[in-house]
């Protein structure tokens, strides 16, 4: 396994999480969101399966190794209402970690004979659609990141907003930008929307697409 942190904050943002995990696998930092563009990643966590020849056999899709621990968290009474509502909405998100891990194990055991391994044509066809607006959103997001890293956060904002407008279903673009202003991704005057508002708008059950795997 190799993990990649998609974080404009780079090593500073990812360090405490990586050190807490004490991984034995390569843990990489993608501060420019290069992988998003190359692999069509629009949310995290996302998993991509790659065979021994460097061929992708499953494109980016939601990848949970287990049920998130926050699902069982008991919040203290003094927790702000916004965070209580956010957790309540997050608990409605549908994921299927058991099914994903089972499929992964099958592929590890059976390789190309696994019913979960896709042909190259299927991999391409199942990767995220990319039309002119999506491609332009990627360019805007890259420009926004560049300006932010160059110490021009205010100049970056219009380009982040344009990326959000062009590809509203790209949660990576939104969440990364929101976090730059409010780590709780709440409403601010800088960006439109918030995690809670935007998830409610599409329905928490649609936050991740269902796994497209044989049953």
């Amino acid at each position: 396994m190799v993990t990649v942190a998609l974080d404009l904050g780079g090593e500073k943002a990812a360090r405490r999480w990586i050190e807490a995990a004490q991984p034995e696998h390569p843990s990489l930092i993608d501060h420019a969101h290069v992988l998003d563009e190359h692999l069509g990643i629009v949310n995290v966590p996302s998993g991509v399966w790659i065979d021994e020849d460097g061929t992708i056999v499953r494109p980016a899709e939601p990848a949970f190794p287990h049920r998130p621990t926050f699902a069982d968290v008991e919040l203290p009474p003094e927790t702000p209402a916004h965070l209580v509502e956010t957790l309540a909405e997050a608990r409605k998100i549908r994921i299927d970690p058991d099914r994903y891990v089972s499929a992964l194990r099958d592929w590890v055991a059976h390789g190309p004979g696994s019913r979960f391994a896709l042909t190259p044509g299927e991999v391409v066809a199942r990767s995220r659609p990319r039309d002119a607006d999506h491609a332009r959103a990627a360019a805007c997001f890259e420009l926004a990141q560049h300006l932010h890293r160059a110490g021009e956060p205010e100049a970056a904002v219009p380009w982040f907003r344009e990326a959000h407008r062009l590809q509203p279903d790209n949660w990576t673009y939104k969440r990364q930008a929101w976090t730059l202003v409010d780590r709780n991704q709440g409403r601010t005057g800088t960006f439109e929307g918030s995690w809670l508002d935007d998830v409610r708008a599409v329905g928490a059950e649609n936050y991740y697409p269902p796994l497209d795997m044989p049953g």
């Binding site: 396994m1 190799v2 993990t3 990649v4 942190a5 998609l6 974080d7 943002a13 990812a14 360090r15 999480w17 050190e19 390569p26 990489l28 930092i29 993608d30 992988l35 190359h38 069509g40 995290v44 966590p45 996302s46 998993g47 991509v48 399966w49 790659i50 065979d51 021994e52 020849d53 460097g54 061929t55 056999v57 980016a60 990848a63 390789g111 190259p120 991999v123 391409v124 990767s127 995220r128 990319r130 039309d131 002119a132 999506h134 491609a135 332009r136 959103a137 990627a138 360019a139 805007c140 890259e142 560049h146 300006l147 021009e152 100049a155 380009w159 969440r175 990364q176 976090t179 780590r183």
Partner: protein, 128 residues
Amino acid sequence: MIVTGTRVGLDELEARTGWSVKPQGACKGEVCVPLPADARPDAGPDAGVDAGAAPTVDVTILAERLGMPVVHDADHGLWAVGPETSITGRALSTAALPDITLPTLDGTPFALGSLRGQKVLLLAWASW
């Protein structure tokens, strides 16, 4: 790809987009797209060909031919060239893992291609 001018060296173009300019056109993987004369290396009045200089190409003309958007921030003198849409209309143009190198926590470059020979689960996550 962020650039500070519209002319880009061919080596840089290939390293950052995967597109290489060959006699038959711009190529990526098994796909080649013929290029018009004004998109060829060192074409145009502003090319400024120097006998010893590496060839360059006007990335805005090339991008238009390949279906790659270009956004321009005039205030900061920056252009951003986005990914192509002309090949498959999908995020992936092939199933081959892109040749990407990313740093580890201590800054050591790690090439994803170094994992050849084993099955890999690439897991993208974020602190946000």
